[in-house]
């Protein structure tokens, strides 16, 4: 079964280190206000041979080493479609999301897994709503996002199944970095789409539910539901929405409020990326 085109090593019998002396970092608590999002660093043009590219780093929690999120995105095209492709009067978008093997706590393989496919599909719908695809007839564009570093540094992340919540943040990052890379590539868009995440968090026994923006799963006892939106702020349109989890039955909060908080988070992200995009063009030309 092993792929002969890679160096496979001794096979599946290796185990990641198991630590028996607990975590060095004590239990973490959210320091930010519930409606504050983390600062981010954005740089365009990191891959000069691509039509457009961007690097996004979401800063780690304050006082913590590591555990930010680091993503790169390259955009190739618009370029001619493969000969086998049928005629298309508009631009054909394809998206790829890939975790580097060192991006998460568990080493990931090179084969595309289901979470990467999920992310690619969500990213595709998110971007398609923003592109003005009919300006580029019979052409294709490839958007490739590589996750260099995901979140959740702690050992018990896997046990507590926080990874499934982290994927929301990863999608939000993918949308934002891809949006910047597409802008860098000079492909027409109706708006700068940006990702935002909100979650309904609660204490361990499910009490005291409240909504926070840009949640870091490790900082909360439990997450009941989370929502990631791709949002066009100037048009007030949502191009992609991903909702996960269950809301408690006596609806202390409904779906709508969670979505609107996610939109609020993405407005915040939009503000940050528009500032750094404007700075990028301002600095290269003056």
């Amino acid at each position: 079964m092993a792929d002969r085109r890679r160096v496979n090593g001794p096979g599946s019998s290796t185990l990641p280190p198991v630590y028996d002396d607990g975590e060095l970092d004590a239990a973490l608590r959210r320091q930010r206000a519930p409606d504050a999002i983390r600062p981010l660093y954005l740089k365009t043009g990191v891959t000069p041979s691509a039509s457009g590219s961007a690097y996004l780093e979401i800063e780690p929690r304050e006082g913590e080493h590591g555990s930010g999120m680091k993503l790169t995105c390259t955009v190739h095209g618009p370029r001619s479609l493969p000969r086998s492709a049928p005629f298309s009067p508009y631009m054909v978008l394809s998206t790829h999301v890939k975790f580097a093997p060192f991006a998460t706590k568990q080493r990931r393989g090179y084969l595309r897994d289901s979470s990467e496919k999920d992310l690619s599909t969500h990213l595709e719908t998110a971007l398609r709503g923003a592109l003005i695809a009919d300006r580029w007839p019979k052409s294709g564009v490839d958007v490739v996002v590589t996750i260099i570093e995901g979140e959740s540094t702690r050992q018990d992340a896997v046990e507590r199944r926080v990874e499934e919540w982290d994927v929301m943040n990863v999608l939000g990052g993918c949308i934002t970095v891809a949006s910047a890379a597409i802008a860098d590539a000079g492909i027409d868009c109706v708006d700068t789409v940006s990702g935002g995440v909100a979650a309904l968090v609660a204490s361990k026994d499910g009490k005291d539910a409240s909504i926070v923006l840009d949640p870091v799963a490790l900082e909360h006892e439990s997450i009941l539901a989370a929502c990631c939106v791709a949002y066009l702020p100037n048009r007030d349109e949502v191009t992609n929405l991903w909702f996960k989890g269950q809301l408690p039955s006596p609806a202390s909060c409904n779906h709508q409020s969670l979505v609107s908080r996610a939109v609020q988070a993405s407005r915040g992200t939009h503000g940050l990326i528009s500032a750094s995009l404007s700075e990028a063009i301002g600095s290269t030309q003056n």
């Binding site: 890679r6 160096v7 001794p10 185990l15 280190p17 630590y19 990191v46 891959t47 691509a50 080493h65």
Partner: protein, 337 residues
């Protein structure tokens, strides 16, 4: 070249890159110094920069940038019990690294690092070749000591401590003996963020830098659970004393087709970019280590073409260039530690 008159420089470069490079290297006007299409002098390299420990999930990592080629290397260590190694022999203390496949380098180009490297397919031939070259050089350079990857265990000295099932094994070996119970396996994953020629030099430098940055946790064997347990305290760095550095150049002959007789004229273009690699058939790579002031050559390889003779490969000029390149990389790697 009458028909070219009236074409802009960028058009000329696109339509006929070969004559364009030749024209740059052989300027008609003596006042213009010869240069490559990218503006560098023939022997001029792109200065490397290195960042270490930028990844928090890896045991060691490095980001190496030379010009527009950027590669990130993450090293992750996992353990394997010797019981699980099919061909394990306790007497083998010389070739463990290679025999048990403890070093696992892989190169990924398909991140859109260049327009020709898009995800979706199997690794390209270039990616496979590079992975194999890194693998070979890791072993042949003896960069790592096997001792660093061994996890020892003390068999209980007294028979009273040993339970029955272990007793059977112990009859073969002496009691109280220290033996290797497991090995660390190093997964060395190299991701190209941006690709503009000369991938091997950058990938190899990233590998060396990341290995020097790698710290393995303290590990011990728990006989009851039959597994390796690690401690977060005092991780131990790998002992990487040598610093082999790869230096690559391509040979440009000025002739577009191979069947033309080379008129003896050629240029050695150090640290080629993608365009130059596509215009040249002959590549030479020398791996040297100048640690401690003495120059050691670990490997010289060249493929294609017939220009580089043994005499040229060992000429002072060539070796001095390689030494200079070694200094660039070595200071970039150690300077960032």
């Amino acid at each position: 070249m009458a028909p070219e008159v009236g074409l802009s420089r960028s058009t000329f470069a696109k339509l006929s890159p070969h004559p364009y490079l030749l024209a740059n290297l052989e300027p008609s006007d003596d006042s213009i110094p010869p240069a490559r299409s990218n503006g560098r002098a023939p022997f001029e390299v792109r200065k490397p920069t290195v960042n270490l420990s930028s990844l928090s999930h890896a045991h060691g990592s490095a980001l190496v940038r030379t010009g527009d080629t950027t590669v990130i290397c993450g090293i992750r260590a996992e353990t394997i019990l010797t019981d699980h190694i099919p061909n394990y022999r306790a007497s083998n203390t010389q070739t463990e690294l290679a025999d048990y496949d403890l070093l696992v380098p892989n190169i990924e180009l398909a991140t859109g690092s260049a327009p020709q490297f898009l995800p979706g397919g199997p690794p390209t031939t270039l990616a496979q070749t590079l992975s194999t070259k890194i693998y070979t050089l890791l072993h042949s350079s003896k960069l790592l000591r096997a001792e660093d990857l061994r996890i020892w265990h003390n068999r209980p000295a007294e028979a009273s401590f040993a339970d029955e099932e272990e007793g059977a094994q112990e009859s073969e070996e002496k009691e109280g003996e220290k033996y290797v119970v497991a090995y660390w396996v190093l997964y060395i994953d190299l991701f190209f963020i941006s690709f503009d020629g000369n991938p091997f030099d950058a990938a190899w430098a990233a590998t060396v830098a990341a290995l020097r940055d790698t710290k393995l946790p303290q590990a011990r064997y728990d006989p009851d659970r039959e597994m390796i347990l690690c401690s977060r305290k005092n991780p131990k760095p790998l002992a990487v004393e040598s610093m082999p550095i790869s230096c690559t150049a391509v040979i440009f002959t000025g002739k577009e087709t191979k069947d033309q007789p080379a008129d003896g004229k050629f240029w050695l273009l150090a640290d080629p970019d993608t365009l130059e690699e596509s215009l040249c058939d002959e590549t030479v790579t020398i791996v040297i280590d100048c640690t401690g002031g003495s120059r050691k050559i670990l490997s010289i390889s060249k493929h294609g073409g017939t220009v580089m003779t043994a005499k040229l490969l060992t000429s002072k000029e060539f070796l001095d260039w390689a030494s200079k390149r070694w200094e660039d990389f070595a200071s970039a790697i150690t300077g960032s530690q």
